[in-house]
């Protein structure tokens, strides 16, 4: 029998307890062991829960109990999750977590402790919910150079964009619907501004390239400025707009990582990923494009990924899984200004003919999506550096051209 503790009995934590209870037989046959929940850490009491006897509000019950070999962290946030996870690892316990903020901020430090203590720190559920993605990346790494990772990593923003694309709902209305359905928090910044996507692309990139990438070093743009008109113009030109987290290997030393809305060709599989679903594209030099799709969040999908990690810990109770990256000061990231892309632009001007003329002079050839007396929508033909785009747009503003929208094109 292996005794475990669950820290946090919210959506994911209670899901973990539920999956462990409802899948007892298969858990036993797969882990070759009985998994027993000894503690659940939560300040609240749940007298009607089948686990009522397991509750404690005292972390040291768990930390000091040598019988507890595996601790599941589902509290979320950085504190006290960080301190608790660190102390569990230091006490020689393996840890499974679904906490993307924790891994994105403290992954390297915690993996180092896990290595020194010869225990496992697993976090499959932190990216893509129920989609197996970190293991496959880790697996395919050895026989592949990973050239690019790109994903629709946040269900809330994808739900909002899907509403805008398919039902011509405005951003504000779609966000309100997402909140009513419980997909979006009352304070939606973490989703809508791209922070959640950023954490997830940082975790995948850290794993794929072996060095910790810190979210604060990634240029991160959300979807709060996407207007319905841009969704419609993009559609007319054969594109959908999706919030993408993307890492490209520039050369052996450098990575280009960005989080921002991007135009995706409608015939690309990622363009068909709708509602709260997530999808992640991994491009290897040997495998080519591989895509993983599924529910990126939700109680049971996330819980089942956590439980799969728990089983892996049980199977590797005395041997470590190889899942590791080093700390880094992120010198491997190119300057965000040096990132290149094609662009979608919507401009307004009293003199559209002149504006289009200047656009061509400054940005080279483009495809004209639409224009009338006051508005023009174009897609550049060439890739342009962010800094060059900025200086071109500032010149345009100086001659009375208003830049109403500027969105990157995906290059996958």
């Amino acid at each position: 029998m292996v005794q475990i503790a669950i820290m946090g009995y919210g959506v994911v934590g209670s899901g973990v307890a539920e999956v462990i209870q409802t899948h007892k037989t298969s858990l036993k046959s797969h882990s070759k062991n009985v998994i027993d929940v000894k503690y659940i850490l939560d300040l609240r009491k749940f007298p009607d829960s089948p686990f009522a006897d397991c509750f404690t509000d005292n972390f040291s019950d768990i930390a000091s109990d040598d019988e507890v070999k595996i601790v599941v962290e589902c509290m979320g946030g950085l504190s006290p999750s960080y301190e608790y996870v660190r102390d569990c690892l230091l006490a020689g316990k393996s840890v499974v977590t679904s906490n993307k903020e924790l891994i994105a901020e403290k992954g390297a430090e915690l993996l180092k402790i896990a290595k020194e203590k010869n225990v496992n720190l697993l976090f499959e559920a932190s990216v893509g919910g129920g989609i197996p993605i970190l293991r496959p990346i880790n697996q395919c790494l050895a026989a592949n150079n990973v050239l690019e990772i790109a994903g629709i990593l946040n269900g809330t923003t994808n739900y909002i964009l899907t509403k805008m694309i398919n039902e011509k709902t405005s951003f504000e209305q779609a966000l309100k619907q997402a909140q009513e359905l419980g997909y979006a928090e009352r304070n939606p910044d973490s989703d809508v501004k791209g922070y959640d996507t950023c954490r997830k692309i940082c975790i995948m990139s850290s794993l794929a390239y072996g060095k910790h990438i810190y979210p604060k070093n990634i240029s991160t743009e959300g979807i709060e400025n996407i207007e319905l008109s841009d969704v419609e113009y993009a559609s007319g030109a054969g594109y959908v707009i999706k919030l993408i987290g993307r890492t490209k290997k520039i050369n052996d030393d450098m990575l280009d990582i960005a989080v921002c809305p991007m135009l995706i060709k409608k015939d690309h599989l990622l363009a068909s990923v709708n509602d709260v679903y997530n999808a992640i594209l991994v491009k290897g030099d040997a495998t080519g494009d591989v895509i993983f799709y599924g529910r990126g969040a939700g109680k049971l999908p996330t819980a089942s990924a956590v439980v799969a990690d728990v089983i892996d810990c049980v199977k590797h109770i005395s041997a470590r899984k190889y899942l590791y990256w080093e700390d880094s000061s992120n010198e491997q990231l190119i300057e965000p200004d040096d990132s290149k892309s094609r662009f979608y632009l919507r401009v307004e001007s009293d003199d559209i003919a002149n504006a289009l003329n200047s656009l061509e002079k400054l940005l080279g050839k483009f495809n004209l999506v639409t224009s009338d007396n006051t508005t023009a929508v174009i897609i550049t033909e060439n890739e342009i550096k962010i800094c060059d785009m900025r200086s071109a747009l500032s010149k345009l503003e100086n001659i009375g051209v208003n830049i109403k929208a500027k969105i990157r094109l995906a290059d996958f």
Copy 2:
């Protein structure tokens, strides 16, 4: 250093050697060991190969060399692959194979030997080429009841159907193009008649449900009778036709497995899987739908999956991976006749009004896709057992209605 042998230097075998050579550094860092190719078994000589010194045409060189710990089998076919793999396992060597025929026919027997000898038998590349699918299925099993697995598992037939769907090419023309491009063999039966798809769904089902499923027990229908007109009628009704291998859990004891063309709603992600790409849907009770997409065949994708397995063997050189199923007499399969489905039907008759009348009497309500004086195309509203459909169609034939096409609808 771990010494390995590669049996068969065709497309996949030479790809394995290439990936091992071109990814030396990452192989070393991931396997914590140096992988050295000691033998390559092939009747041909390759004097210009960087591995020229490794070639042998004598299997016993490999079987009797105790330094060889891992053997990669890429010969294909059943004999002598089966005897060689069996002898390698009996000699205490781990085996990695890309050979789906071997695993679909002899998996249970070989896994048993591997277990007894405490070595590994891995075969990720046998399904989905470069797509990681067997590991994720194995991983998600413990925390999920797998309710359904359905996939586009054969690149050649998907290429042919894509040509028919997008370019209105006939089956015969599309097959010819596939042969010219090297996607289809001169004798295309294994692909076109569904045998290849059948082997792959058998392997995934054996793994997911723990008991060997033999291809001979699976009702298998290919795409050779799909006519362009059906592709077009289906498209008009909002569907595409794909060759699907599918396993459904009927209850705790019984499975419904089938290989046949199916109509898929155009807005389903699998409908957008084109050309030689593969995609596999796994429906878990906790994760919901998860889809894996990528190149299902080809030298480097397949080779990289083989090499990932080799690395896993190196890492588990003294510990076994848990990947296993028992032999079975396939009593867990329902009678193919009892399988239920909605159906697409195209019928011809001199008296279409009467034919439609009889169709409704025999099959219940249906959606009329199109009809004229001599032809009607319908999609049934209700699921009908195969045997009930057969007897209904025979009654229709008796009253002068010709059944020109009968295709199942996917229920995912």
